[in-house]
């Protein structure tokens, strides 16, 4: 953990425990996250990588204010998060665009929900679409857009309200390999251009290495931070350079090993 602790990190998970009450089949409650600490500085691009069941989506929901921690606090600029707000935007895996609204109107709905002046809606929406290169498709409905274009609209919608933190929940998981890579490149350049703070959830190690500036590795049952890596790649290096570097393979190997459940490793050693 080489993070410099400033007075107020942009986003901070402070001793977070999240448990869900017992369901009909179980007798005791499930602890999803246990005493988790994690900080993002302004301008950080933090990728949270973890196997399924590590509570990474729960972590994102907590940051978004969609659910509340059982213990601990989520702090944004030093003040406690108590619910959703326009200072944080979420991009979901399955786009979550409203199919009855055009690309532009999807963005305008978000601007309206964020309480932005009605007169600025169209200009801001078009500006956001411009940012992701979709100014031509403003009047199209989601079903008229490809998966990659839908996710671009969703990113534009998230950025339009100028959030302090962009939260992305496996946003490229549903895309074909080619669109995924295109969007990874675009997101990286968007981050370089805007310097925004991004928390990005994925289970894809390559994606984590190509996008992140830092990687937080989560372990399972209960979810907790196993390790935090500062990536050695320069912020302005492109994806091909990163992939070709010697560090890449070594880091990839290391993260894979960290993500493998301990008992599986143990069994492997015995046989």
């Amino acid at each position: 953990m080489s993070t410099v602790n400033l007075a107020h990190p942009k986003l901070r998970f402070d001793a977070i425990t999240k448990s869900f009450p017992p369901s009909a089949k179980e007798t005791c409650s499930t602890i999803v996250l246990d005493d988790l600490n994690l900080s993002l500085e302004a301008g950080d691009f933090l990728v949270v990588v973890g196997p399924s069941g590590s509570g990474k989506s729960t972590l994102l929901d907590l940051a978004a204010g969609l659910s509340a921690p059982t213990h601990g606090k989520v702090l944004l600029d030093g003040s406690s998060v108590s619910g959703p707000g326009p200072d944080r935007s979420v991009v979901f895996q399955n786009y979550a665009l409203f199919p009855w609204k055009s690309a532009r109107d999807n963005i305008i709905l978000a601007l309206d929900a964020a309480g932005i002046d009605r007169r600025e809606h169209t200009a801001k929406a078009d500006q956001a679409l411009n940012l992701v290169g979709l100014q031509q498709s403003a009047d199209r409905y989601p079903h008229q857009l490809s998966g990659g274009m839908k996710q671009r609209v969703a990113i534009a919608r998230a950025l339009s309200v100028e959030p302090k933190v962009l939260l992305m929940d496996e946003p490229f998981g549903a895309l074909d390999a080619q669109s995924r890579e295109t969007l990874q490149i675009e997101l990286r350049s968007l981050w370089q251009r805007t310097g925004m703070t991004i928390m990005f959830i994925t289970h894809d190690i390559d994606e984590a290495l190509l996008l992140g500036q830092r990687i937080a590795i989560l372990g399972t049952s209960p979810g907790r931070v196993v390790d935090i890596l500062d990536l050695p790649f320069a912020a302005d290096s492109n994806i091909d350079t990163i992939r070709a570097s010697a560090d890449y393979a070594a880091l990839r190997q290391y993260i894979r090993a960290s993500l493998t459940p301990r008992n599986a490793l143990h069994n492997g050693g015995l046989s």
């Binding site: 959703p84 707000g85 079903h143």
Partner: protein, 276 residues
Amino acid sequence: MNTTTYNNVSEAPVLLRPNKRFGIEFTASRKTLRGAFGISILLILWQVLPTVGVLDPLFVPPLSHVLTALAQMAHNGQLWLHTSSSLSRVLPGLGFALLVGIPAGLFVGTSQTLRETIGPALEILRNTSALALLPVFTLLLGIGQSSKIAMVFYAAIWPIFLGTINGVQSVDPLWIKAGRAMGLTQQGLFTRVILPASLPSIFTGIRLASAAALLVLVAAEMVGARAGLGYLVNAAQLDFDIPQMYAAIFVLSVIGGGVNFLLQRVEHHLTRWKSA
């Protein structure tokens, strides 16, 4: 490099668009033509089969005789009398069903507890034939206008109510999550996410309801009324005025088909965002 990849991705669908549009218009007009052709065949058979004697013209008079009877009724005011009488029952019944069914469905749809509590009871009520209840309505409300409106209301409310519940229930939870994440209030979530997302299902319910309303109306008018298209069908048959009977049936079909067509157009307009 980056820009090239991106341009390819975003331009390809734009190039496809004019073709696709043309394709849709083309199929739509061909569809209409085919439908018109099917209806013409039906009408020609109606004219030809009785004329050549395949069907007994006494029981199934040719279309031309029926249209003559229809013209006569239109001329002497009978047609309007009976049609307006029927409409004065079906429109209020359907209207009340909409006014009650949609808000009630929206309310029940949002609460799982409520849904689970009244669900089985609803199934029983819905499956109780409105026709079986005809004597009950007559008993309670007499044989006047109100009992017929009440019957139409009863027949129409279930499809609307259940269609609305179903619509609310099947709203993609991800849309609600996205709406919440944007900071929409409960009310905003309802009017801007849940309601538009439920609209297709609500409209299916309305169309089913209008068909059910007409069905029940005719039955009620046959049993106890002195005017109305259902009464006319029955009375004409008793008078052995067979062309007039078919004329009344014909009007009922046109009303039913017309209402369905109108609702489909409105539905299509309101839900044009759905993929074709």
